[in-house]
């Protein structure tokens, strides 16, 4: 264990490379410690986190977990749907990691993280891992450490689900961090219309109209969504996003949802879209973080967004966190004239 750095966190039994090795070996017991580490804002821990994430990035072939975003308005049934997915996937021997992102109170910084309550099927099952996080700082309902946490879970679990709240803006944010984006709509016209108005119909890879058990309204919403989609221009990657009627409560349609997610995963692997998407996601994350910290002016110091994206592409072996750190130092140097 390196003596120059503080221990990663409680119960740390080795440096970050040991931790990375355990993750890459699929050791579930290493996950809590790794998630604590990447959420830690202290300088030594951040350095260790960068080491850890660099190691994962170098071994990116082993990050087998398929990353799925589950997004939609509060109360649409995302958490209940996750429970249904767990019940569906576990008997088939597939393991599941979940990040549940809760909106946190702006005023106090406090939050009640209540999603565990709906996702009960994973209790007492080592093949399921749920971590709740409060959305902090950044816009779009996505916690700072989300992307890193997704990488970590992806090393150990077959599927990584990320639950986020939102209609609008935040879809685009989360869509950069996952391989498949599932949008969960509430039955009732308002929701899907609002969604179409937001003009981001092309982002989700799968549409779910949940609460199919309540009947006609759900069916109407589904057909509205389908016709809305029919009007939009075909996607460049050739994927046609299905609209599925699902009841998270009684399990109807969950098989079809799993099939659709798997089909999109397959499509992504075969067409190379998943690889490309992950690359683009990295570039986006680096740009977004730097823009947030140093503004457009700062980005110009490193040649602007396009140049940055090229740099990220070239640094294939480096994690987002390291890139942000390194390029950030560079910008700081430029800004202070050093």
């Amino acid at each position: 264990m390196p003596t120059d750095a503080a221990p990663a966190s409680r119960g740390s039994s080795g440096g970050s490379s040991a931790l990375a090795a355990r993750l890459l070996a699929g050791d579930r017991a290493a996950v809590p410690e790794a998630l604590n580490l990447v959420d830690d804002t202290r300088a030594p821990q951040r350095e260790q986190a960068r080491d850890l994430l660099d190691t994962l990035q170098r071994n990116r072939e082993s990050l087998r977990g398929h990353r799925v975003g589950i997004t939609g308005a509060p109360g649409a049934g995302k958490s209940t749907l996750l429970d249904a997915l767990v019940r569906n996937l576990r008997p088939r021997g597939r393991s599941v990691g979940i990040l549940a992102i809760d909106p946190s109170s702006q005023r106090t910084g406090g939050a009640l993280l209540g999603d565990r309550f709906r996702v009960r099927s994973g209790a007492n099952d080592d093949g399921v891992y749920l971590r709740s996080m409060a959305a902090r700082d950044r816009l779009g309902g996505i916690a700072d450490a989300t992307a890193a946490s997704v990488e970590i879970l992806g090393a150990v679990f077959d599927y990584v689900f990320v639950e986020t709240v939102g209609v609008g803006q935040s879809e685009s944010e989360i869509s950069h961090g996952v391989d498949t984006l599932v949008f969960v709509a509430q039955p009732g016209a308002g929701d899907s219309l609002q969604f179409m108005k937001a003009g981001i119909l092309e982002l989700p890879d799968v549409f779910v109209v949940n609460k199919a058990d309540i009947g006609a309204v759900a069916e109407r919403t589904a057909s509205e969504l389908s016709s809305g989609l029919g009007l939009s221009t075909p996607r460049a990657d050739g994927w046609e996003a299905p609209v599925l009627l699902v009841s998270a409560r009684d399990g109807a349609g969950v098989d079809a949802l799993v099939d659709a997610v798997d089909a999109h995963a397959q499509h992504g692997l075969e067409s190379g879209a998943r690889e490309a998407g992950r690359r683009a996601g990295r570039a986006h994350a680096v740009c977004a973080a730097l823009a947030q910290r140093y503004g457009a002016y700062g980005l110009e110091r490193v040649g602007g967004r396009d140049a940055l994206e090229v740099r990220v592409r070239e640094a294939e072996e480096e994690s987002v966190a390291s890139l942000v750190h390194r390029l950030g130092q560079f910008i700081e140097g430029a800004l202070t004239g050093r």
Binding site: S9, R10, G11, V31, P32, L35, N36, D39, D40, T41, R42, Q45, G75, D102, P103, S104, S105, Q106, R107, T108, G109, G110, A111, L112, L113, G114, R116, F117, R120, A123, N124, Y129, L130, R131, S132, A134, R136
Partner: protein, 657 residues
């Protein structure tokens, strides 16, 4: 001098039961000999949640807060030498109500009693279980079906039985305002009656009789003038509802019939002798007004906030009722509030506000919808938060707690733990032995047949009662009956009512704690994260909810998943969520077994250094044992200052780091 004409007093009861059917039977007979006129049975938590004494979840809970009843021999023992044809029994039983009624009916048959003579009540109100009481098992739809099964069955087969007692009592115990108490109870009754009416096996002409058998269970708080108005408002609302919504023409059938247990939430650990005065005043609220007088009354005891009452403590409360009924002139007068403008005005305003709130619930789809979307539960948690903040700030005075705290040493509590009933640790083992003996002597083929029959009847939409009574005679146990239903209906968890974000308290002290949470979070590198856990079958959620709210509002991240988790689940959540501190809340007396189990499991996971604090009804002797075992702090009801508790938790985490 001729004695003035007096009304008949209400049924005088004491809510009791503990250890075993035999011990409880002795207690009941002693109470009846003291002039009690009805029985009120408290069941233990395994019986209420459908587990036999040897089930892992029953560990530490058997015979603790009530009597364990696993089969017909237990039930027969419980009513030994008590002729059921003459008794009026109140059974506080809900998720497993159909089963306990089946055992009761089968026992009556054994005694040779005519079912038509049986009088009493099964509480059987699951809506308030989700909202407050916590001994639910099945999902709302299945629960409602069981309730309506019992309603349609008893109306002909056991016509003097109250199959369901709509409870507003427990809502007040969870913090409800009078308006919420009335509104949600009425919405609940509508939910049950609409479901009954929707069944095709209910003839049109049965509805008035069914309506007439629906009774209520109310609370009576310390603001007893308002409570008089509340009872009058409910009497009027019920009458309106019967006439307008259900077309009940006979005014007799629209009479609002209710029983009461007076408020316990306001009974204090500090200066506990004051509770007797509170209990007396609360009793007035539901007895003073003849036109809205309770039909039965049960009173808590002076040591309510310390632990379970001993026979003497209950006797003291029994005597309160008897003095009120037999010594005072209360029962000699017509309604003493008739014509009072003040009472009328408050009654009317309560009625109007409650009607509006009830309509809100009906508009969102009725009680079942308003449970699952947490609307009602969230309102209760908010009301309770407001109440506790008012106590903390001193706006709401509680004598001996936040005002007039100087006191002489109390002779009542001088004896320490001897001032409460402590259930013998051997009760669990003995109940398991009896269960084994019972199982080995029954006819296995009969049992199997009865269970198969139960399953088939339920699957085909038949009424739960007949096959349950058959199963009772065949020797089926509580756990076996409930497992059959769990298998068919599945299980449910009700929302916690604690919202993701809230309104921060703005007092200087809370702001100071919030600043320290920020500082410590910075030092930790992550925001301070607290796990609030409720291990075991204990359904008392108020404390856990309010701790979660307080922690959230001083800026912590809080993981709280609701009641009835196993120690294993709690330890695993602590690990997976990466929490900095764990708070366990236990009020039902099984802290000894369960807290130690959580500590052990944390140690096994290598999390032994996460500080653990415990709160609830923990007698001092037990508290020191818990501290020796590694618990950092133990809180009890006298620690009403939530902000101070939060400050101490921050300190603990800061020191542990």
């Amino acid at each position: 001098m001729t004695a003035p004409k007096r009304d008949r007093p209400w049924l005088i009861r004491t809510y009791s039961g503990h250890s075993s059917a035999r011990a409880s039977n002795e207690l009941y007979r002693a109470n009846l000999a003291k002039g009690q006129t009805g029985l009120s049975v408290a069941f233990d938590l395994p019986t209420q949640t459908g587990y036999d004494a040897d089930h892992p979840l029953a560990r530490g809970e058997v015979g603790k807060v009530g009597v364990p009843i696993a089969h017909i021999d237990d039930m027969s023992q419980l009513f030994d030498q008590i002729p059921l044809a003459k008794m009026n029994s109140n059974l506080t039983i809900n998720a497993t109500a159909a089963w306990l009624l089946a055992l009761y009916a089968a026992t009556a048959e054994r005694q040779g009693a005519d079912p038509a003579a049986l009088q009493g009540t099964t509480q059987n109100d699951i809506v308030k279980e989700y909202l407050s009481r916590g001994t639910y098992v099945f999902p709302p739809e299945a629960s409602l079906r069981l309730i309506t099964d019992m309603v349609t069955y008893t109306v002909d087969a056991i016509p003097k039985w109250n199959p369901v007692n709509i409870c507003s009592y427990h809502l007040q115990e969870a913090g409800a305002t009078p308006v919420q108490e009335i509104a949600y109870a009425m919405a609940n009754a509508v939910g049950v009656l609409d479901a009954v009416r929707a069944r095709d096996d209910v003839p049109e002409d049965a509805l008035p009789r069914i309506f007439g058998r629906i009774s209520f269970f109310l609370n009576a708080g310390i603001r007893f003038v308002e409570e008089v108005c509340k009872c009058r408002a409910m009497t009027a609302l019920w009458d309106d509802l019967g006439r307008d919504r259900y077309g009940i023409e006979d005014p007799q059938m629209r009479r609002f019939r209710y029983g009461v247990q007076v408020n316990s939430l306001g009974l204090t650990e500090a200066q506990p002798e004051n509770n007797v005065i509170r209990i007396v005043l609360e009793s007035l609220g539901v007895t003073l007004s003849k036109n809205a007088r309770t039909r039965s009354l049960q009173l808590p005891a002076w040591n309510e906030a310390l632990g379970l009452p001993r026979p003497w403590d209950q006797q003291w409360s029994l005597r309160i009722q008897q003095i009120l009924a037999y010594e005072t002139d209360l029962l000699e007068h017509e309604d003493i509030f008739e014509g009072s403008k003040v009472i009328e005005a408050r009654t009317r305003s309560l009625q109007e506000e409650a009607l509006a709130e009830m309509q809100k619930v009906l508009d969102m789809g009725g009680v079942v919808a308003a449970i699952d979307n947490a609307y009602m539960k969230q309102r209760l948690v908010e009301s309770h938060t407001a109440r506790l903040r008012a106590i903390e700030s001193g706006d709401l005075k509680v004598v001996g707690v936040n005002a007039f705290t100087e006191t002489e040493p109390s002779p009542l509590t001088a004896a320490g733990s001897d001032s409460i009933l402590v259930v013998d640790e051997g009760a669990e083992r003995e109940q398991i032995e009896r269960l084994d003996a019972f199982r080995s002597k029954r006819n296995d083929a009969d049992v199997k047949g009865a269970i198969t029959n139960l399953r088939d009847v339920l699957k085909n939409g038949g009424n739960v009662m007949p096959p349950s009574i058959r199963a009772a005679h065949a020797g089926v146990t509580t756990g076996e009956w409930a497992d059959t239903l769990r298998d068919l209906f599945g299980e449910y968890r009700a929302p916690t009512g604690v919202t993701a974000s809230g309104r921060a308290a703005t007092s200087a002290t809370t702001q100071a704690v919030r600043a320290r949470v920020d500082a410590v979070s910075e030092k930790l590198g992550r925001r301070l994260k607290l796990l609030v856990g409720k291990p075991g079958l204990d359904g008392h959620s108020n404390g856990a909810e309010q701790i979660a709210v307080a922690a959230r509002d001083v800026g912590m991240e809080v993981v709280y998943d609701g009641i009835r988790l196993t120690p294993e689940e709690i330890a695993a959540s602590a690990r997976d969520e990466g929490v900095h501190v764990i708070g366990l809340s236990l009020l039902s007396g099984s802290h000894g077994v369960l807290v130690l189990d959580v500590l052990k499991r944390l140690a096994d996971l290598g999390l032994g250094d996460i500080p653990v604090v415990v709160g609830g009804i923990i007698p001092e002797a037990d508290a020191s044992e818990l501290r020796e075992a590694g618990v950092q702090r133990v809180y009890t009801p006298k620690d009403f200052d939530l902000t101070r508790i939060m400050g101490e938790i921050v300190d603990l985490v800061s020191d542990a780091d």
